[in-house]
């Protein structure tokens, strides 16, 4: 397996917001490499900074937010230096697109569907409207809209939720972007439509060869679509690795806690597991490991010093003192053990199948 190309690389990124005259640090020293053609899932609870992180890739931070430190290199270009809409013009919507959570409200209710698609084509590819329409119709068919010609002039309210998400995806892909950021693309859809939309994105990814970033807190979606997973907590990535590594052999206690709270792993007649406590406030400096106060495996050092990343495998890293050779052996929760077992069986089956 040859090393894939890095398409986007964030180094030591810090993002701060000014809220009611106080400084809030939403992203705390994140470094992340995105490989060409892969699907990366970013998971974490609300407020962990998933969305803020991806917003820095398209310069969509709210006006009170700023990148305080670090760099983002995309195709050799330093994205943190781009300030105005004009400078972002060639990136946003053209090379990096975003699909948002709620398709019901992502489209302008007063504009015809067709115009909302051709608008972005005309903007970035500077094509005459007749040609833009041709491309738009083609896209609509690709994302699975029947009689596209007819529905081109419809308004969003004449589309169902799933159909609208297809249109949103068509708009995001209109300029053949290199990276597609899907910010909880299926949260607002019902389960059957969810699967259709995920399939659609996967098929289109195969066809167009773009890189996908999923932001989600639905671990089911992650297991379905992702190649790699990054787990975020309180503005930091605490663990990342391939999807198998994160699900079958997690190392960070926060990842353990997440997996323990999966309802599918719960035992009958036992209460569902919930992570105790709340995430720390991001207004003040966090000392040590941010998860320590909620972590029953926390060591004394977790409260004093921030852990470094420990390498588990060439692709798997975790930011916890438990991996330090000096740390005592911690017994992971039952749910994680079940997952480990499944992982082992799975590997056996695949190797048997290969034989």
């Amino acid at each position: 397996m040859d090393t894939p190309n890095i398409i986007l690389s964030a180094k030591d990124l810090v993002v701060k917001f000014r809220v009611r005259n106080k400084e809030l640090t939403a992203i705390r020293h994140i470094s992340l490499d995105l490989f060409e053609g892969e699907t990366l899932a970013i998971v974490g609870e609300s407020g962990s900074g998933k969305t803020v992180l991806t917003k820095t890739f398209t310069g969509m931070l709210e006006s009170n937010g700023r990148i305080d430190n670090g760099s983002i290199i995309f195709e050799g270009q330093e994205l943190t230096k781009l300030k105005t809409d004009k400078q972002w013009e060639t990136i946003r919507g053209a090379k990096i697109s975003t699909v948002f959570q709620d398709p019901m409200t992502s489209l302008n209710p007063l504009k015809r569907i067709g115009i909302q698609i051709t608008e972005v084509i005309e903007k970035h590819q500077k094509l005459p409207s007749a040609e833009a329409k041709k491309i738009a119709l083609n896209l609509m068919e690709r994302v699975g809209i029947k009689n596209a010609e007819q529905r081109f002039t419809d308004y969003p309210f004449q589309y169902s939720g799933g159909m609208r998400q297809r249109i949103v995806i068509a708009i995001a892909l209109a300029c053949k972007p290199r990276i597609l950021i899907c910010d909880e693309p299926t949260t607002a859809l019902d389960v059957t439509i969810q699967a259709q939309i995920l399939d659609l994105i996967r098929n289109l990814q195969r066809e167009y060869g773009f890189t996908t970033i999923y932001i989600t807190h639905d671990l089911g979606v992650v297991a379905n679509v992702a190649d790699r997973v990054a787990v975020m907590y309180a503005g930091q990535i605490v663990e990342y690795g391939t999807v198998r590594e994160i699900f079958y052999d997690p190392k960070h206690p926060y990842t353990w806690a997440l997996i323990s709270s999966l309802p599918t792993l719960a035992e009958k007649d036992k209460p569902l597991y919930a992570i105790p406590g709340t995430p720390p406030t991001l207004f003040s400096d966090i000392k040590g490991d941010a998860f320590a106060p909620r972590n029953r495996y926390a060591l004394k050092i977790d409260f004093e010093e921030e852990p470094p990343f420990y390498q588990v495998s060439p692709t798997h890293f975790a930011k916890t003192w438990l991996l330090d050779p000096r740390a005592p052996q911690a017994e992971p929760p039952d749910a994680v053990k079940i997952m480990r077992e499944r992982g082992r069986k799975n590997t056996k089956q695949t190797s048997e199948a290969q034989q």
Binding site: G93, S97, N108
Partner: protein
């Protein structure tokens, strides 16, 4: 879809008419039943002059009530005339004291449920009967629409009156359809004033004004010109000869006049010699509408612009100044900022701070009232559009449009403004029609002879017909303005269709 829309529109029109009917019926009912009839004389000078002539005083009061529709009134003389003929000697015989006609009058009219009383000095009898309130309401509606036709004039002194329509030219040489036998001479004509094609066939009659603007139909009071009469030179043909004279008569209002005097015969070939004057200044309605519509255009133009810009520069200097202005205007009393503004306009710009100084003819008279009226309008429009814009700015589709790579400006003008305008559009017809009602405070401050004062003063003057007519007009136009607003919204917002029954996918 269009078919559904037609059905809906018809239904709405019907509903509107029903609500107008209900409101005006209630008003007629309340005015006639709750206001004591004695109060209508409060402002009548004539009655005070008659104070020491009891017979005439009594007669005047009852005739006035009769004309206002409160009661039926009949004197002994009238009754005798109706029996013996107008000029019969028997009439004066009947009225002599001790005549048996007294007994007859009393008996016959009491049989008809009249109350019979004697005049204090002469002792002549008179009879009256109250008209029930419901009948008054019905009569109001029965008289509302008056249709002119060639058999309308019945003049016993002119049995040879021709009846029928013919084409002619009016005094300014424009083609017109005229008629004989009708009340009005000109039935349909064209001229240079809005709406260019005019008619006299259908008139609305809502009673006559009393005690203010005594005797004039109320619609004419608010619709006729004001100020001095405007005279112009007219050349017309009388008896085959060209005559030229100066007149202020508006030939289009000429009505049938039974008795022509010598002056009339010099000017007119036929019996249509009774016309209204042309005045130099516009009507109350006209002046209020001029000021109102100009200030509405200013309010929308300036208010919407600064509101949109304030939303685009939210929390920046421009936004703060705009918000400061809005808070200032809405928190201090209207009269105070109008007074401040008038002082500024007079001292610094040298504009008249009272409308009558330069009069309705002079453009300068309108400037300060119009601007004063816009001060509040600008604040209102700016406040609402800014608020709707800010609402829309946080909408998901705006985020998505930004992520498509559109610049802030493109997102604003292609996506946000139209969404934010929808609620504003809905209120525009109402605002346009609202100008007809006039602006009470501004108009009284600048002494503008407009509509603003009409409603309050007609209430304090007990001008019942005016109260009813204004209520009817304002209800009618408001209900239809709201309806018009709803139709406008369906044009700008595809989600709303008037075919409410047929649900979209």
């Amino acid at each position: 879809m269009r078919g559904f829309m037609k059905g809906y529109v018809l239904k709405r029109i019907l509903q509107s008419l029903v609500s107008v009917f209900l409101v005006s019926t209630l008003t007629v009912f309340l005015v006639f039943s709750c206001i004591p009839r004695q109060l209508v004389f409060k402002g009548d000078q004539m009655l005070q002059k008659l104070a020491n002539r009891p017979d005439e005083y009594q007669d005047y009061k009852f005739r006035t009530w009769e004309s206002l529709g409160y009661l039926d009134y009949i004197t002994m003389k009238e009754y005798a005339q109706s029996i013996y003929g107008n000029d019969s000697d028997q009439v004066s015989t009947a009225l002599q004291s001790g005549s048996s006609f007294y007994e007859r009058f009393r008996a016959e009219l009491q049989a008809k449920r009249y109350t019979v009383e004697a005049q204090p000095v002469t002792g002549y009898l008179y009879a009256y009967k109250d008209i029930p309130t419901m009948t008054r309401v019905l009569r109001w509606y029965a008289n509302l629409v008056q249709v002119d036709h060639p058999w309308r004039v019945k003049d016993p002194n002119n049995p040879d009156l021709k009846r029928g329509y013919y084409f002619t030219k009016d005094w300014s040489g424009m083609p017109a359809l005229a008629a004989s036998g009708t009340l009005y001479k000109y039935q349909i004509w064209i001229d240079g004033s809005f709406p260019f094609l005019h008619q006299n066939i259908i008139h609305l009659y809502m009673g006559r004004s009393y005690p203010t603007y005594d005797g004039i139909p109320v619609l004419e009071v608010i619709g006729m010109g004001q100020g001095r009469t405007a005279r112009r030179e007219v050349t017309t043909k009388v008896g085959g000869q060209e005559v030229t004279f100066y007149t202020s008569i508006d030939e289009h209002t000429l009505k049938y006049k039974p008795d022509l005097d010598r002056l009339d015969k010099n000017k007119f070939e036929d019996n249509y010699a009774d016309g209204n004057n042309i005045y130099q200044d516009p009507s109350m309605l006209g002046i209020s509408f001029r000021i109102g519509i100009m200030s509405l255009i200013l309010s929308l133009g300036i208010g919407l612009t600064i509101g949109v810009v304030a939303a685009m520069r939210k929390d920046k200097m421009f936004d703060k100044v705009t918000m400061g202005y809005i808070v200032f205007i809405s928190s201090i009393p209207t009269l105070l900022y109008i007074a401040l503004f008038a002082r500024f306009g007079m001292k610094i710009l040298g504009l008249p701070d009272k409308f009558p100084f330069l009069g309705a003819q002079n453009f300068l008279s309108y400037i300060l009232p119009t601007l004063s009226l816009s001060l509040g309008g600008i604040a209102g429009e700016a406040l609402w559009i800014r608020r709707y814009m800010v609402d829309q700015m946080n909408a998901d589709y705006v985020k998505f449009a930004r992520s498509k790579g559109l610049t802030q400006g493109e997102v604003f003008f292609r996506h946000i403004v139209r969404n934010a305008l929808i609620p504003i559009v809905h209120s525009i017809p109402m605002a346009v029609i609202g100008t007809l009602a006039g602006a009470l405070i501004t108009e009284s401050f600048y002494a503008v002879p407009g509509m603003g004062k009409m409603f309050p003063s007609s209430i304090s003057d007990y001008n019942n017909a005016m109260i009813i007519a204004l209520t009817f007009i304002f209800t009618f136009v408001s209900v239809f303005a709201i309806f018009l607003g709803d139709i406008l919204v369906t044009i700008v917002d595809p989600r709303i269709s008037l075919a409410a029954r047929k649900e979209a996918r």
